[in-house]
Structure formats: C-alpha cells, structure tokens
Symmetry: C2
Subunit: 377 residues, 2 copies
Amino acid sequence: MSHKLCMIPGPVEFDPHVLDAMATPATSHVDPAFINAFGSAIELTRQVFLSPTGQPIIVSGSGTLTWDMTASNLIEPGEKALVINTGIFGNWFAECLQVYGAKVTQLTAPFGDQPSIDAIKQALKNDQFKLITITHVDTSTGVLVNVQKVAQAVKEVSPNTLIAVDGVCSVAAEEIRMDEWGLDVVMTASQKAIGVPPGLALMVVSQRALTAFKSRKAAPTTYFGSFAKWIPIMQKYEARQPSYFATPPVQLILALETSLKQLVDRGMDLRFKKHIDASDKVKAAIERMGLKLVPVKREYAANTLSAVYYPENVAPADFLKCFTAAGVVVAGGLHPDYNTKYFRIGHMNVSATEPENGHLDKVIAAMESAVKSTKVA
Amino acid sequence: MSHKLCMIPGPVEFDPHVLDAMATPATSHVDPAFINAFGSAIELTRQVFLSPTGQPIIVSGSGTLTWDMTASNLIEPGEKALVINTGIFGNWFAECLQVYGAKVTQLTAPFGDQPSIDAIKQALKNDQFKLITITHVDTSTGVLVNVQKVAQAVKEVSPNTLIAVDGVCSVAAEEIRMDEWGLDVVMTASQKAIGVPPGLALMVVSQRALTAFKSRKAAPTTYFGSFAKWIPIMQKYEARQPSYFATPPVQLILALETSLKQLVDRGMDLRFKKHIDASDKVKAAIERMGLKLVPVKREYAANTLSAVYYPENVAPADFLKCFTAAGVVVAGGLHPDYNTKYFRIGHMNVSATEPENGHLDKVIAAMESAVKSTKVA
C-alpha cells in the first residue's frame, strides 16, 4: 500500500518509533517487560489527562466503546442525562446513553454552533441530571466547546451532576485539565492526538464517579465494558503484577507507551500550544483563500481539525481530486444534512507538533491548488 | 524488548509479513486500498470458518467481546441458555450471559473432563433453551469438545436451540465446519490460531441466528456490540464501499488480511492436520517424559495447546525457570483451584504449521531439561 499523507481527523500520522512498536514480535501479556510497559502507559495516561487522582482504563476498542462504558457503568435505567450536542457525535452519544436506559435531554446547537453557557445553566435548573456529556471537539463539525466554562456552570448550578467529556478528538491536543476543572470522565481513542494506530479505547474516571458507580443499585448490563472487571486489572498492571480478564492488545499498548512517553517528556503545555499554532497556520491559509469555516465563530473552531465549506458552486469531487493529485488525504463531511457542503483537514500529533516535516505546508498547498483549479471564472 | 519464543496459548508467534502489516503508516479507514483489504478480510473469514453463508463481524476488541455480542444480541432477558462448561472460560461465558439477563443452566465437568453427549441430550430434554454455548477448546484446561457431535445432539433433541461456539482457542487450528455442522455463532480472537496480534474480536453469525436477532422483542442493551450497527458496516466494506460506525483498527485489519490470505492459500485441511501433527509431537514428548496431561482422556486433549501437570513434589517456579533459561515462554495454570498444579504450552500458527522453524523442538528440549533438573532423587 503506497503511503499518502494522512491529514484526516484521525487516524493521524504516527511517529516512526510508535510504528516500530506495533511490529513487536509475539510477547506474552504477562511478560514482566510487557507488564512494566502497560503499567507505565497507565501512569503516563494520568499525566496526559492531567489527572493525578483519576483511574485510567485502557482496553481494546474504539472511542465509541468509551461511551458504552460511561453509559453502562454510570447511568442506571431511568436516570437522566443531558447531552450538549454540537454535531453528529452528540447524536450518537445520546443514542448510546438511551440504549442503556438513560432518559436523555439534548441541547442541540445549529450546525457549526454550540449551546450558550446560559442555555446549559437553564437546562440544569429545569431538571436534575445524573450526568452531563460534552463533546470537547465534535469531529463532524470541528466545533470546540469550552469545557472549563461548561464545567464551572455545572459546579455552580448542579454540583452533583457528573461531568463526562468525549475527548476523542481533543485529548493530548486541546488543553484539558481533568482534575483542575473537576471532570469526572474523560474519554479518547488511540488514533487521534494520542498518536497511536486505531484499536484502543482510553478513559480516565474520577474518584467521585467511581463512588457513584459503587453506590449503584442495579448491576450494569455490560460484561466487556464493566468497570468492576477492568479497574482491578488496571490496578494490578500499575502495581507491576500479572492479571487477566481479557487479553490486552500487546502491540498497541507498547505503541501507546512509546507515544505517551514522548508526549510527557516534551511537555503537555508545549503540545497544546503547538496544536494552536498549527491550527492558526491552517486557518490563516483558509481565510487567505476566501474559504469559510464550519464553526460559526473563530473561537468555536477546534485546534485539532479544520472543517471548511467548499467554495460555492464547486463539486466536491473536483475540489478533492487536487488533494489526491498531491498525495494528501483529507476527509469529506460527516453530517447527514451537510455531507456534500464541506471537507475536513486534521492537524494533530506529529503533523502539528513537528511543522518542520512539512505536513501543514503540503496540505495548504494542495488546498491552494484546489481553490485555483476550481475557481469559477 | 528482547524476544523470547512465545509458546503460550495466545498470543502466538506471528509470521513476519503479518508483523510488517502492523507497522503500516497512517492510512485512512476509508482509503480505497484499505476498504479493499477489509472487504477481502471479511470474505477470507468466511473461508476460514468454512461458512459460505454466514455473516462475519470483525471489530476492535478481544474474544471476550464476542461473548457480549452473542449474549446481548441473541438472548433477551429471561431467556434460557445452556453452557457446556469445560473450564474457566465456561464459567465466565455463563457470567456474561447472566449480565444480559439470560437464565443460565451449566453442565459443568470435573477439571480435565467434559459432559457426555447423553448428559447434554438429557439437559436439552429437561428444558427449552434459546441458546447452547460450547467452548471448543477451553484454554484453561486444554479440553477439546467434539463440536460436531454436540451439534448433532442439539439438532436431534432441540433443533430450535441456537448453537454458539467459543472458538477462541480453536478457529483456524482445530477442524471446524460452521455451515456443514449447522453452527449459529462461531467466535474467536486474533491472537491465537488466526495468527494476528491481539486486538480483534472476530465472529461469524448464521442466517438462522440473524433471523432470531431480527425477531427479538426487546432492544439489545449494547451499543458498541450491536449487530444492528455492525452488520451494515461489514456489508458495506465487503461491497467495497466506505462506511462508518466506529473507526476500525486499520493496522490490525491489514495484518488480519495478510494472515488469512496465507491460511486460505495453503488450505484449511492441511492447516488442521499440521496442528494435529504438532500436538502429537508435543504430547508424545510429554508421555515419554512421564508427565500427565490435564485432559482425562487423550481424545479430549486439544491440538492447540497442551495442559500438563507438573511432576509430583516439584515447585512450579523451579520447573518453569528451565524454560526461562532456554528463552522460551510457557504459561502457568489458569484455573483458581488448580493454578499451581499444571502449566500450558501453546502450539498454534507458525509454531505448528512450520515445524522446520524449530519452535516445537525448542519447547520440548526446555521441558526435558526442566524434568531432568527437578527430578526427585
């Protein structure tokens, strides 16, 4: 398979040492060297999520599985959840919560917009919610929610409500300070800013959420996603002891430890800043070319991707073929009502943190040629 | 991490081309080349499971997740399931079924033994079961169940009962002819005889089981494991069309396609025979050394692993250190009541099918030195 530069909002381009770890020969899941690497990955996860007190859970799966784990373990049938919906991933998280019996209220913003803090406060006053979910960056719209402000609002109006953040397209790129902001669950997947091929579901759960979990009345209807099964396993690996519930994905965990070590060594604050710089560079180019972002305000636009409307009267296929010609892969729209109206460029991980590799320049040049070649005379 | 020969019952040793595929650089999950590889992997899965009519489902996860998917999609709360229990994986599958509301009856054999066909028939006469589960090879005991005979008994006594086979430690090594034997669900994971690093849950579901699924009254309480979500995705990839529910583990799927292609090209019948030959070689050595297998009859012993009692009055640590000294990794016991009584040697995938690589000779030599050095005078 010949390689094309992968500038979609995940999977992202990977560091070569991370890819090397993926090809590690067969290794027992209870080999001392692997136990040590998994234990280290768990510790590093806490540092990346800025949650010294949280409980990391790392399992085979995708970001979607972390929704199931949140919904099944933290919600009992009939309990209420408030979903801050800024795109299709909000719709889907709401659907997932309902599967596990939650009564869901959605605050849904128009395409590219987000609910105001006042609207969120009002919703929290109108009803008593066990859980609020926030999609930090909705990958379908490129909308970034100010999680810190939403969390403050929740603490102010409904302090007992658990705060769950879908950080699939944000963790390890957008600033997120789990403990400081008082978040209860932060979820992500490996193939985005964490910088590891797809196949891992990662989450950190607060002690407060674990207390809520332990005091539930009905048993959760999940086995593979059970906190009660996984947390002792995580604790054992972290204590560098062998343990078994289901076979961990050895190679992906080794790749994860390799990537997290790089992230933490280089510093999270610098990493956040580099993602802002990369995003600024791409968005400046978008503006220069007269293109329009999907997020309705500049401060609503994520730093991990840019969702951009096609120029008017231009066929998506004509526009996108210029990227193909340049050997760059970008993503189409991912929202049933607007699929053909916009495209998405991912700028995460090495593409953002090592601009000297030219990934940003290459995707900007491809976009420039797409704009020029499709210009309506 | 220095490599030790991995002779445990999964993860197994991998073919170098499979490991190379694990290190494939970032690739979009809707890249035409990837769509084609995933489509091909789905088609090849049918050939490996010998199920021309079944529906393959391949997702990020482990073998355990396939239990959840079977239990949540095919059992409604209150429906009855019969578990043929030949080891700890039987206990756990029963627990998983109960989590999703099944009323479970277990036919539990003593350690190393298995329920007789007559006992199974009697249980099926005593009650009406929606589903029967069979662990083809229980990795904790090394006991092999004759799935064909059990399936015949089910067809004879209770033809409407769905037959679900946990083939985690059997598929692609032990003979299993899904369609011919009339099986409804066959489950496995990537890290055993399929020959791919851990991280994939694989299953094939019969059209009969899908009909049962479609006629259920209550919605399943699973989102990530939902047949209704995944089957359209599998059908799209097989039709070589892009589709999205959750990001597939691109590198693992590429590794899977690489491995399955090798398996199918070389022929499944030859593969089954090579696993028997490898097992015979290891078991002949075990017998020659005066050691005793855990399975109570030779015909109950799996071809994918050998579960072997330590010599009497020998400390496990003393025995196992000879393997460590030889650079070979084997597994301890995995059954709470017998943990310290036995060990397990896996002989799957390239270790079985390419005996010229010397894996079997190496593990046999290590066992020989362990027996000699721990011999009580």
